[in-house]
Assembly symmetry: C2
Amino acid sequence: MSLSEFELIDTFFRRADHVGPRRAVVRNGDDCAVIAPAPGMQLALSTDTLVEGRHFLSTVSPARLGHKALAVNLSDLAACGAEPMAFTLALTLPRVDESWLKGFAKGLFDLADEHNCELIGGDTTAGPLSIGITAMGEVPAGQALLRGGARPDDDIWVSGFPGVARLALEAFRGSLHPPLSAEAFEEARLVLERPDPRVALGVGLRGLASAAIDVSDGLLGDLGHVLQRSGVGASLYLDALPVSPWLQDRPEAVQLDCILAGGDDYELVFTAPAARRADVQALGASLGLVLSRVGRIEAQAGLHLWRGELDPWPDDPARLAVPNRWTSFDHFKGDAT
Amino acid sequence: MSLSEFELIDTFFRRADHVGPRRAVVRNGDDCAVIAPAPGMQLALSTDTLVEGRHFLSTVSPARLGHKALAVNLSDLAACGAEPMAFTLALTLPRVDESWLKGFAKGLFDLADEHNCELIGGDTTAGPLSIGITAMGEVPAGQALLRGGARPDDDIWVSGFPGVARLALEAFRGSLHPPLSAEAFEEARLVLERPDPRVALGVGLRGLASAAIDVSDGLLGDLGHVLQRSGVGASLYLDALPVSPWLQDRPEAVQLDCILAGGDDYELVFTAPAARRADVQALGASLGLVLSRVGRIEAQAGLHLWRGELDPWPDDPARLAVPNRWTSFDHFKGDAT
């Protein structure tokens, strides 16, 4: 070990060149960081830990890992409609590898700067590699987007093209036949390893979405949390699902596996009143982000899959069964990535 | 694995019987927790991770571990003068052991309830055992106790009897001759495994202490952070150090090793103007807590040890050298506990 804990923090995680306004009253280096939300704002907090062998492969580039560790937390803030403000970093490292730390810090701070999110504190310790981040964001009092607000007849929307991260994972596992082209593999891998948190979308959905969640465990599984919390059911239209160009040549079963059950994309799934359909479309256009209307909320509990939107009534032959393999990823039952 | 991640959280970490007022606007179960400090208050945050084999032995009782994981964070809040409000828990577990989880949750929530500190969110994942907590507390705007406020001629104070946690650690290592009695071992072990965060003291020191820090790495090492941040030096009086009854029969070298270099006690070291000496003593009396005046801040940088308070000038033969072994614990250079 050539660096002590304090030297390590000073070298890699204390920045003279912080970009943008300081968000903390007191920042790292004291017993606590001190922050103060602006008047009328509340503080949204998210905590996520990434563990080697569980959430990432040891082969991932440290810069992408630094990016992703923060991105998954910013994604939770986005799903609440909160604007990123600050974060703490708890880093457990098996050894001090300066080149690794340099890359990790670069990926972390590049994303942090993009969202004006300041590192205000944390903890560094020796042990099996894991990265714990708690991110804080501001949201106007009472306007946080929650899981429990979906109402019957609301539209169900999804951003972007979920499923590509899962495609990359299957490529890593060697289970794709034919395999991905080199170009497609690099693109898909980028989505898996360096996801873009939908922060601007989340902020734009304040006062517009009735409920929101980010797709970390799989579209169906995460939508299920919204349904459960809201006490409603849903109909999904399979022909309305956005199919990424990287998935278009795959068999439909593979497409649906990836889109409906693939996690780790960090797109947002949200609901909004049908009367606000044009506002949602305008928001997507203003952000340059594809937003797809993929279903609707039903008063009756349960999740129903349909070929298309027309005539979506139970006991109709168009209704499809939900395969078990589309249930949500679970950290104690699911597969390791 | 008999429980899924969601069942695990529901069973052990979601409480119908929460004691005291709710602190969160939105609590665990959504993408984020949402909290709002009261008007005029700022939010102090602390993050600490405990890793098995590094911060605790695998033999520690789960209830004590649950207590300690939160206690080390409440101690940081105390060192800032913040009153605990809420915390998030990131738990990485090698397996789902229901009896372990039950004990862990009991120790955690018993301490949380004592300080009216609500679990508002977190993350559970599979991997090598580690516990990451981010605790939040409220402090009136501008009143947080910082490390940088010590001024020449301020008194240096320490709470309680630091050194007992180190004594327990030496007993675990079998390095004490003679060994501790069974009773002394149990008492010392309790201090190591179940430390009492000095929350009431920290709150009482608002507007009274000029600087504060908690003793996690060792009295001298942690005081060193205050000196460095404040741009001052210090004289310490060895004959004024509080010597725990469990240390009194040990040779002076062992006493000083434990008191000056032993970490993990979570007592507070703080500075206050000499003119406020009576106020500090009154605070200690009101809390039933021994507060010892152990030195004073000097304008000149450096740490000087003296037998006693009289005639504390440099180059005096009473001045003692600071042994290397009293330097601070470092997570990448120090010993594992």
